[in-house]
């Protein structure tokens, strides 16, 4: 139990030491690198955390995550249900989906900006495009793995179509949808930062570029830490949502 707590801490501490050593060595080569060191980063982080600026960027980024995820859910769940229910639709679309899924969403960025203009719209598009695949594919898998006895049970109760969908099918695939959401959040979080580096004037990705332009390298490192920590928390939240639903 204590070991369960101590080992991850030891791992983090070792990484911090390596980080300090690396920054120290690099500072010998380029003096500016001393701004990357753990202590300087820590100081910058403290200042950022106490200010308002960082939180505004964080808030905007989280809003974009939510919007992107929502669009992905609205598109991915119905398409996933259709894919899971209809063998014909599944066969017709599987190659297309597998193909589209493997394209880095960022490669759409120039086209997205051209079509949707500068601003939030292309970011939403990129995030939704990145997140829709795991949600779609997991929803389809969930439909395919529904216990046939559940449907038989519903039929033995003369359930209406609506009762079957709302009381059996949707709750029955929710665990799979939540798995898809967890994967989607991971992907969205990774795509978010580069997506925010173009055409927007706020958000964590913008903050990184802005810190670079201001030569505020300690702020830049601090932002990287914040991005990692928020991503960790988002993933943790998605995991516990999944666990709570399954009551496992």
């Amino acid at each position: 139990m204590v070991l369960n707590l101590l080992l991850p801490l030891a791992g983090l501490l070792a990484a911090a030491l390596l980080w300090a050593a690396g920054a120290g060595w690099l500072a010998g080569v380029t003096p500016v690198a001393s701004a990357f060191a753990p202590l300087a980063t820590g100081e910058a982080l403290l200042q950022l955390v106490h200010g308002r600026d960082l939180w505004e960027h964080v808030w905007l980024s989280l809003q974009r995550v939510a919007v992107g995820l929502l669009i992905a859910l609205v598109l991915g769940v119905p398409l996933g249900v259709l894919t899971g229910l209809s063998a014909g639709f599944s066969r017709a679309t599987t190659p297309l989906f597998q193909f589209a899924r493997m394209i880095s969403p960022l490669s759409w960025m120039p086209i997205a900006v051209m079509v949707l203009g500068v601003g939030d719209a292309p970011v939403y598009f990129l995030l939704a495009f990145a997140a829709v695949w795991p949600i779609l594919l997991n929803t389809a898998a969930g439909v395919a793995q529904l216990d046939p006895n559940w449907l038989l049970l519903a039929r033995s109760l003369s359930a209406t179509r609506r009762e079957t969908i709302l009381r059996v099918i949707l709750p029955g695939i929710t665990a799979h949808i939540l798995t898809g959401v967890r994967l989607a959040i991971g992907i969205i979080w990774i795509v978010l930062v580069p997506a925010e580096m173009l055409g927007v004037s706020a958000g964590l990705g913008y903050f990184i570029l802005d810190a670079r332009d201001r030569l505020a390298y300690s702020d830049l490192m601090a932002a990287i830490l914040v991005i990692g920590a928020l991503g960790y928390l988002l993933d943790h939240a998605a995991r516990s949502l999944h666990r709570r639903w399954l009551h496992a």
Binding site: D147, N149, L157, S158, V168, A175, H247
Partner: protein, 266 residues
């Protein structure tokens, strides 16, 4: 307790008022596979436990589905409580080999699942709760209402599935190999429990099984199904009081008769 061989065609259905279920000259064909069974006539009286015994793949599970109104026969008619059956009857219930509980619902909600559906007989919430409580009590799961299926053992989950069927206060309980996934000790417990609760609920049972001993321990009547396409080959009445294991000689004699008929039919 003698075991007369009865040709399927002369299996006299019980008087209409007595029979929960009466099927006449049923046949069923799967597209691509062919005729699964044909010429099946049988009846189940109120409170009677009937075992449909047969080897795997003889069509007995398909027959159960047709009798339960989950599939339509190619030929013949099923009557439930003296009315033609076109869809599952509200006074019938199903138990499967797997408990198939809904993992997102608490035990009490699993047991009460579907009682509020549009095509179920109207009942208010308090009455439904009372039925759920009585069913959970009967299967020994009182006090576990708030548990989730993932927290139950296999035997407990199957008890819950039985409670779910009881909560519908069925005239007839369809059970498709309900205990074959359980270990031997749990299975024996569940067999005794089944007999106990259906007697208290005044339900009839159609038990599909491939286990001769299970049929002998549980059923009032045993129908042997076999052949290709499947038919009801023989029928035995088991006129022994419960618990049956107090009468080993009589059971052994019947067991040998069934085994003999099985050898004969294959």
């Amino acid at each position: 307790m003698n075991a007369p061989a009865v040709a399927p065609s002369v299996l006299a259905p019980a008087p209409a008022s007595e029979a929960v279920l009466a099927a006449r000259d049923l046949s069923f064909a799967h597209p691509g596979i062919g005729t699964v069974f044909e010429g099946v006539s049988l009846s189940i009286r109120r409170r009677e436990i009937v075992a449909l015994l047969g080897s795997s793949g003889c069509g007995k599970s398909t027959l159960l589905r047709v009798l339960a109104g989950l599939a339509q026969p190619a030929h013949g008619e099923v009557r439930f409580l003296d009315a033609p059956l076109a869809e599952p009857h509200p006074r019938s219930a199903l138990v499967f080999q797997q408990p198939s509980l809904l993992p997102w619902l608490k035990l009490a909600d699993n047991v009460g699942f579907g009682l509020d559906f549009a095509h179920q007989p109207r009942s208010d919430g308090a009455a439904r709760q009372a039925r759920v409580a009585a069913a959970l009590e009967a299967v020994g799961l009182a006090g576990r209402e708030a548990a989730y299926p993932a927290q139950l053992s296999g035997g407990m989950a199957q008890r819950a599935a039985l409670a779910r069927a009881l909560a519908r206060e069925p005239e007839l309980l369809f059970a498709d190999e309900p205990f074959s996934a359980l270990d031997a000790i749990t299975r024996a417990e569940m067999q005794a429990l089944l007999v106990d609760v259906v007697h208290r609920w005044h339900s009839a049972v159609l038990l599909v099984t491939h286990d001769i001993d299970e049929a002998l321990l549980v059923a009032d009547r045993i129908l042997l199904m076999g052949g290709s396409p499947g038919r009801v080959l023989r029928e035995w009445t088991v006129d022994l009081p419960h618990p049956r294991d107090a009468h080993p000689e009589a059971l052994t004699a019947l067991r040998l008769a069934i085994l003999g008929a099985l050898r004969h039919s294959s």
